[in-house]
């Protein structure tokens, strides 16, 4: 069994009060670095095949370390299931890929590109959306708390149809209805989520979100105007005003990013507050500030990591320019055979460091912030929930949620 050795972190002694009603999700921070390094190395050595077990180990880490009332959640999925699910996923993607290739080569000058576009930007995203929904079904079916399993009903097709309906409405309103789209999809997901015999219910207001969304919407409009307007001002001689507008663009972009983070945080709080399982309520006090700070810190540290090798190579280049006659030293070392392999090693080190920092400072930090912010109410209602027999859904074939990283 490929369970990484996670060193225990001294946890506060579990006190057992007489059925508390308000409990918090408290993530225990166990060392993640070993798991990530081992997973990356094995993934590289095995030409990528280990990634299913690595992903499983990561999920097990996150689930297990998210605890409620002293007991952690459990991820019971396995690498083997992800691997088999991936093979099934390939069987679906393969014909699609072939169709695109054949159509674009032999479809004729006019029809070929049109058909290929329909396939790549219409049918392919639809298939991936359905696969993603089924992937969620797999993850839920492999999640347990207090020994009782979650599961998901509904279908990928149902999810797809709702998405298409709301995409059309959103497009007709030039994107103003995006919060409605997101709420509709969240509702479909939550109402089809079960914990044992308890079905999720969902009721969240969209008005508070609309306010933030409109700020974003008008901000985006302003960005479009500015990026069209600045060159026009330049060409008509008003260079000063054009320059000011151009300088304003990146600042505006940064501000809009902040508003977007704020939107997501508010959405998280509202959607969570609107979710209920058999009387068990959820609430989150997540704050935009902490999320933004986590991301900024992550970005700064990434910059620092990249700065070291870039700085070294710039230094070498400068030295070569200033004193071309100077023999030896860093520059010959860096360009020599030993230096070459050292540079490769350094590049590899930077790659691993990147992955490490992303996992620990971004993913885990955001997971931790979200988990810590959640308060669970009326946990006593667990009494009324039982594991439903025969609700074993989410077989191996649903494990599509792996392998296809669209961004590479």
């Amino acid at each position: 069994m490929i369970v990484p050795n996670i060193d225990p972190v001294p946890a506060p002694p579990v006190t057992e009060p007489a059925l508390p009603t308000n409990l918090r999700l408290v993530p225990v921070l166990a060392p993640l670095a070993g798991l990530v390094i081992k997973g990356l190395l094995l993934t590289i050595v095995t030409l990528g095949f280990y990634r299913f077990w690595y992903k499983t180990a990561l999920r097990r880490y996150y689930w297990n370390n998210t605890t409620l009332a002293g007991d952690g959640f459990e991820y019971t999925g396995t690498g083997k299931e992800l691997f088999v699910g991936f093979l099934i996923g390939i069987a679906i993607v393969l014909p699609l890929y072939f169709a695109v290739t054949l159509v674009s080569i032999f479809g004729g000058a006019l029809l070929g590109p049109i058909l290929a576009a329909v396939l790549t930007s219409g049918i392919a995203p639809a298939v991936f959306l359905m696969l993603a929904y089924r992937g969620r079904r797999y993850r839920l079916a492999r999640t347990r708390y207090y020994g009782v399993r979650f599961h998901q009903t509904g279908s990928g097709m149902g999810y797809l149809l709702r998405t298409v309906k709301w995409l059309i409405l959103t497009a007709l309103t030039l994107g103003i209805l995006v919060p409605y789209l997101r709420r509709a999809l969240e509702r479909y997901k939550i109402e089809n989520t079960w914990y044992g015999s308890a079905q999720g219910s969902f009721a969240a207001p969209v008005k508070p979100l609309m306010k933030i969304w409109l700020v974003l919407w008008f901000g985006a409009l302003l960005v479009i105007f500015l990026s069209i307007g600045a060159p026009i001002l330049y060409s008509s001689g008003m260079t000063a005003l054009g320059g000011v507008l151009t300088a304003l663009l990146p600042m505006l972009g940064l501000a809009l990013w902040g508003v977007w983070v704020h939107y997501r945080v508010c959405e998280f709080r509202l959607f969570l507050a609107g979710t209920e399982f058999a009387g068990i309520t959820l609430e989150s006090g997540l704050r935009t500030r902490s999320v933004i700070w986590a991301q900024v810190r992550y970005g700064l540290i990434l910059l620092a990591i990249v700065a070291v090798p870039i700085g070294l190579s710039v230094m070498t280049a400068l030295k070569a320019k200033v004193s071309p006659a100077m023999d030896g030293g860093l520059e010959t070392f860096l360009t020599g055979p030993l230096g070459g392999s050292l540079s490769a090693l350094m590049a590899f080190g930077v790659f691993v460091l990147f992955a490490l920092v992303t996992e620990i400072l971004l993913r885990r930090r955001l997971w931790q912030l979200r988990a810590q912010s959640v308060t669970v109410g009326n946990l006593g209602a667990l009494d009324r929930i039982i594991q439903q027999a025969g609700s074993e859904t989410g077989g191996v074939g649903d494990a599509f949620d792996t392998g296809f990283d669209v961004a590479g």
């Binding site: 069994m1 095949f49 690498g79 009782v148 399993r149």
Partner: protein, 380 residues
């Protein structure tokens, strides 16, 4: 046997999400769980009891017939250790639905082996078998659709010019050479050969049997047979339908790499590198095969099959040759291996055969680029 001591634990029955206080005891058959009240104790056979962690608390789950029953036990770490230490080896291993470490290693090894096999044997074979099955008319259509872009690529800003007016003596000499070489070739359709007015030394065959020689091939050649050797090599690509093979090979290759690495778009660095490696190994094999055809056609036409080597050496003389990593990645390297292979194939050919063109024809061919004309395929 000693019945062991009783230790307290939290038990979840897998049906209700409620912790139940129980007493545990190690018995020879397994873990005995005694619930409060007058119910008979539950026993987890050791093989069904799976240990998730020992610290900070011991956590166990139960797997029966490879199905997770949902039953859980949480025990204080020290108490568990003192009661169950002698039995730790007897506990079952792994989650339901997971394979053993050895099997995973074997699978991964098998998967890597089959991918490597596909890379170097399967895909070339696939391309070889499928290419002849594609109708020639499809290939011609495909060639026509890429031609304008290719011509544009080699021209400076505008589409490149073709050498020789129709019916000029240069063009006639070229056509004569093509006819003499084609006589011995099993071609799917007659080839069309043109000379491109560019400064780069190159030659290629498009899908659909359209061959382009570049001007320097004729300028640098020492004899008509050297030009004919290069041309016969390109005819070899058409005979083998290498353009179609290449398309099939590339498509299948990106698919395979995408599948292995889980990268559908094919944009990641690793994907591109892997493609270059496998692609160049494959195309080098094709080059050697085209060389073989070149030797055959030259022999059939009564010309000197070794002449192509003379041309290769002429090219190599101008450049300093140092072996580098790039050779492994280059798709068209003229290597010592290729030259030796041609020597071997042409070993029994008589020295200094009759040149493929007469002296006057050769003179005319050398002057083919004195007049140029726009390509009909080029976009205006």
């Amino acid at each position: 046997m000693d019945q062991g001591m009783d230790i307290p634990a939290r038990y979840f029955d897998g049906v209700r999400p409620v912790p139940q206080p129980v007493m545990l005891r190690a018995v020879p058959q397994g873990v005995e769980i005694r619930l409060s009240g007058e119910v008979p104790p539950i026993v987890w056979p050791f093989a069904e009891a799976r240990l998730d962690s020992l610290k900070p608390e011991a956590r166990l789950h139960r797997v029966s017939r490879n199905i997770d029953t949902g039953e859980r036990l949480v025990v204080e770490a020290e108490a568990f250790a003192s009661a169950f230490a002698p039995y730790l080896k007897a506990f079952g291993k792994g989650r339901a639905g997971e394979a053993s470490g050895l099997r995973i290693a074997l699978w991964t090894g098998g998967a890597i082996a089959s991918v490597v096999f596909l890379f170097f044997v399967g895909l070339p074979l696939l391309a070889r078998v499928l290419a002849p099955l594609v109708p020639w008319s499809w290939e011609t259509t495909l060639g026509k659709s890429v031609e304008p872009q290719v011509l544009e690529m080699f021209g400076k800003g505008s589409a490149v010019q073709l050498c020789g007016e129709e019916n000029s003596p240069g063009k006639a000499a070229l056509d004569a050479m093509v006819a003499r070489l084609s006589a011995g070739a099993k071609l799917p359709a007659p080839v069309k050969v043109e000379v491109l007015d560019t400064a780069i030394t190159n030659a290629f065959a498009l899908p659909g049997g359209h061959i382009y020689l570049f001007r320097p091939i004729i300028e640098k050649a020492g004899s008509p047979d050297e030009v004919a050797g290069v041309l016969a090599h390109e005819i070899g690509h058409v005979v083998h339908r290498d353009a179609m093979r290449g398309l099939i090979h590339d498509g299948a290759l990106s698919l395979l790499i995408g599948a292995v690495l889980g990268d559908v778009t094919g944009g990641s660095t690793v994907t591109v590198l892997a493609k270059m490696m496998a692609g160049s190994a494959y195309s080098r094999e094709n080059e050697s095969e085209a060389d073989r055809v070149s030797v055959d056609l030259m022999r059939h036409a009564g010309a000197d099959p070794r002449a192509i080597n003379g041309f290769f050496r002429r090219l190599g003389a101008g450049e300093k040759s140092s072996p580098s990593i790039l050779d492994a990645l280059s798709s068209h390297p003229v290597t010592a291996e290729r030259i030796t292979a041609v020597e071997k194939l042409a070993a029994d050919a008589p020295q200094g055969g009759k040149p493929i063109l007469s002296a006057s024809e050769w003179q005319a061919l050398r002057g083919i680029c004195n007049q140029t004309r726009p390509s009909p395929a080029a976009k205006s």
